[in-house]
Every structure is written in C-alpha cells, then in structure tokens.
Amino acid sequence: MGRPSATLNDLAEMARINRRDVARMFMAAGNGHFGSCYSCTEIVTALYFALMRVDAARPDWPDRDRFILGKGHAAPTLYSALIRRGFMPEDWMDEFEVKVGARLMTHPSRRYQPGVDTSQGALGHGLSIGVGMALAGKIDARDYAVYVLMGDAEIHEGSVWEAAMSAAKFRLGNLTAIIDRNGFCVDGRVDDVMPVEPLADKWQAFGWDVTRLDGHDLTALLTALAPRRDATKGRPRMIIADTVKGKGVSFMEDVRSWHSDAISAEQYARVMEELGEGAS
C-alpha cells in the first residue's frame, strides 16, 4: 500500500526495466509505438514508483491517486509500471496484441487491466475524464491526486481546450496534467503538422500553473509532480515535459518513423543490448 520509497538510482533502474519491458511487448507483436513510449518512461516511472498512492491489492481503492494515459498508444509503458507494481502478472507481456482475447492491447483498457483507471485510445479524451475525477474528489472531499499524461499533438484536439477551461473554472488544485513534448506526431514534426507553441503561455492564459522541465530528469520530475492532494487550494497544474522521442535507444531517438514501426529480431537484439541486461 502507498508509495514505495525509491532512490534516484532505483528509479533509473525501473525506467531501464520499463524500456526493456516495452521492447519485449512490442517484439511479441512485431511492431509498436516505441518512440511514444520511450519519451514518457521517466514520467510514468516517477509517478508509479515514487509519487502515486496506489495499492495493487485494491485497484478500485476509492482514495488511490488516479493516472490517465491520454496518449493511450503509449500503453506498454503504463503496463510495465502496473506489472512491476504487482497489478498484473508479468507473463501478460508476452501476449501483447498476439491473440484474440489478449489482455494487453495497443491502448489501455479498464475492462481487462487491473490498475488502469480509465480506458483510453481516442486522443483528447483524457483531460476531460481527469477533470471529472478531480471534480469528484473535490465534491467528496477526498484527498487523492489526479494525473493526466497527454501527447504534444494530442492537444490538437479541441476538447482538450474545453477541458482546460473547465479545470480552471472549478479550481481543481488536485489535478496535474503533463504534456509529453517529444516533438513528433505520426506525420512529422508537431510544429510542422500543426504548431502548438507557445505552450506555456497558452496554458497560463487558460488559468493553469505551468512548469517546464526536462522530462527525462527524474530529480526535476519528482519535485514538479509531487502530489497535490488538497482540491480546495490552488489551480490546476501543467507540467510541460520536454522529451526525446525514442529516448534511450540510439537509432530510435528523434526519428519520426519510430512513432510506430515494425521491429526485426536484429533490431530487438540491439535495443536490448543498449538497454542493458535485466529483468526482461
């Protein structure tokens, strides 16, 4: 129950294991959203191994902190965290997308996966659901924190800005949103496909507290993402995390095609070699 006490070294190791787990799942399927997963590894690791109050024995615990993966296609990063926290068995990784009835699929599903707080997949839904969850906490005077992780192109969706307005209106001090600013969407650079900057100015103008940081810097993440449990105080918080798509694997870093691509046995061997020996 609660959050484990983790050192920075522990967290770095969990991040490394997470990247290996993700590769293992994508190798089972033959392809996957490597780039999208590897840009948010440290964010998800910091939340699940240092910050969030969750209990694998009670996935429906009403007072647990909530996490919503708006960029649902990075689900394997979440799956690894939930598996390593004990919510789901490790061998589910090997059936990722491979058969009818597989418990782990491209996008997270509350229906099949203990520990997943809401199903996701269609972009632009997560922040609204997070607003609802944070609002429920405020109405019921519960002290859980709500985190929503969005992609930097996910915010092209207009409903994100509807949600942004409502979070400020209801003064949801218990809500934290994170933008994984890896710079790429499917068709190219986000700022070529549809420019999103100036991000910080936009969210400030919408009434949010904004912090911009290096999304792979665990020390910075631990500080910036510290749970805000008092829904009656403050404003919603936006963390703009500058990240590298495909972070951690040399031939995937900042390469558009690794948003989602097939992987060969040889490439897989290289990924695992670069990520080092370990859990998977």
Binding site: R66, S119, G132, M133, A136, S159, E162
Partner: protein, 341 residues
Amino acid sequence: MNVPSNLETASAIAVLRASYPQKAIRLQFGETMLALAAEEPDFVVLTADLMYATGIEAFGAQFPSRLFNLGIAEQNMAGVAAGLALCGKLPIVSGYAAFTTLRAVEQARADAAYNGVKVIFAAQSAGLSYGVGGPTHQTFEDVAIMRAIPNMTVLVPSDAAEVDACLRAALVADIPGPIYIRLGRGPERCWSSPGADFAIGKAMPLREGTDIAIFANGSMVVEALVAADFLRGAGIGARVLNLPSVKPFDTLAVQQAARAVSAILVVEEHSVIGGLGSAVLECLAETASPPVRRIGVADIFPPIGPAHELRAHLGLCAENIVAQAFELLELAGPGTAAAAG
C-alpha cells in the same frame, strides 16, 4: 369497414386529440429534477450553458453545489461526466439531443459506454420538438446512433408523467453503463397517469385489438392512441403498444403482438433509418410477421416549423396513422378486418 370522409376523420380526430391536456416536457424535467434532488442526494447535474433552456434553473438555485455548468462544450461535458462516474458519482447530463449524440458521441461511447459507467444523458429538444430551429437542432438520428453503441440503454418516454417515471427508473436502475433518455421540449399531450411504473426493457400495452398493431414511442404514443380510438369507431380493432425502451427491447412483446394482428404500423418521431421502426423490423424479420409499415422522418432534412404542425406536415400524426391503417388493411387481403368489417 367504413372509410370515413376526410372531413369527418379530421374533425373526429381533432376532438379525440383535444381530450388530452398538455404539459411541457422541459417544465416536467425541471420539476422532476427538483423533486429527485431532495429524495436522492447522490446525483449531480451537468449542463452546457443550457440551464434555463433545459428547465433546471430551480434545481440550480436550490442545489448550487450539485449543478456544474461546463459552458458550450458538450464533448468535455460528456468526458467530465464519465470521470465523475468513474469516481463513484452519478452524473445526469442535461443537454440537447443533437449535440449530445452528434457532437459528443465519441465521449459517450468511449468514456461512458466502454468504461462501463452509469451516466444519464437527459437529451432534450429531440425529434422535431425544436422544429423551428431547423435541421441543426432537429434530432432524428439519435436513437439510431445511440442504439448501435454497446452497453448503452436507450429510452424514449412520451408525455410528462412518463418522463418523470422514466427519470426515476433510470436514477435507481442498477445498470453498469450509460442511459440515453430522449426528451422533447415544449407542450405534449398527456395520456399517462402520474406515478405509473416505468420498467426499463418492457413494452406497455395500451389498447387491445386484433386487426392492426400500432407500435409507438415518444410523442407518437398519444397519436397512436387517438388513431386507435378513431379506428375502433370505424370497426377496426387497433392494438397499441408503447415501446419507450428501445434498448433493451421487448422482443417478446413485439413478436406476440405481431402474431395477433394482420398488419403493423410503427410510428416514431425519428428517421425511418435506425430507430424504433428498424428495431421492430430487426426483431420481426426473424419470425413470421404480417406486413410492417413505418411512419417516421423519411431520409430527408425536414423543413422548419413549429413542432406539432411540422410533425403533421411530415405525416407524424393520428390522421396519417388512420389513413395508413386503412391502406394496409386493404392490402392485407381476405381474412382481415377489411374483409370482416
């Protein structure tokens, strides 16, 4: 069978129709929300700058901490509702049917239905009840859309008392999924008794008869009753089945009624594609069935017009039900009321 002249028909039907008093659906919705708020402390209401337009200003004034106005942002409203439900709240989304089902359908589907959480979508101004708004505000595809979503319950109550009963039933129903309640707007004729039970998944027989069956829901129930009572005077036994629960659908009641008659009319204030008529045809196609004719909005964008006049213009009225019944029974051939009468 005595086919009355058009003038006699129109006059007799007008008299029958006028015997039913009217009450506005929006007014009833507001009254019900206010009454339920005191009885059921757990639900909250969300609206998209439609507090006044959906008649819940009194609820908002008395229970301000339970009303959340999301502004003109229906997609966010539906997602917020799902988030509330995922954390144990019971949200009632008070909006217009057009925007709830056309603009926010992905949130209704992915966030509420797929997640398996109970959100009540109370969708007003459906059908042609806001006929003067034109096709952007007229809503004749909503039942088709919502019915196709797994895990979605679809209810189409008719008059004020049934709206009240339906909302109460939905509120206490132990259903792990969203409930879409299709509501009108202005005055509708009242045929049902206040306080009557509303059973989700059940058809409600209103008239017995063995010549023709009229299946209806929403604003067309009272028109079906008027038509049936007129037909009785002309020697035709018209069975009337109220079908407010389009999903789950009372397949058994529909099939039983079909077996008892020579012809079937389905009447709804909705497109003939995908609504009650389709649900009836789907269930009767798998069994022996007399001929079925659908009365609804043809595959068109209707003209503008006040609700009741626009419905009549499109044939959504007792006069047309009667005319279609005569035609159908003649088509149905020997052994039918046409021959017997």
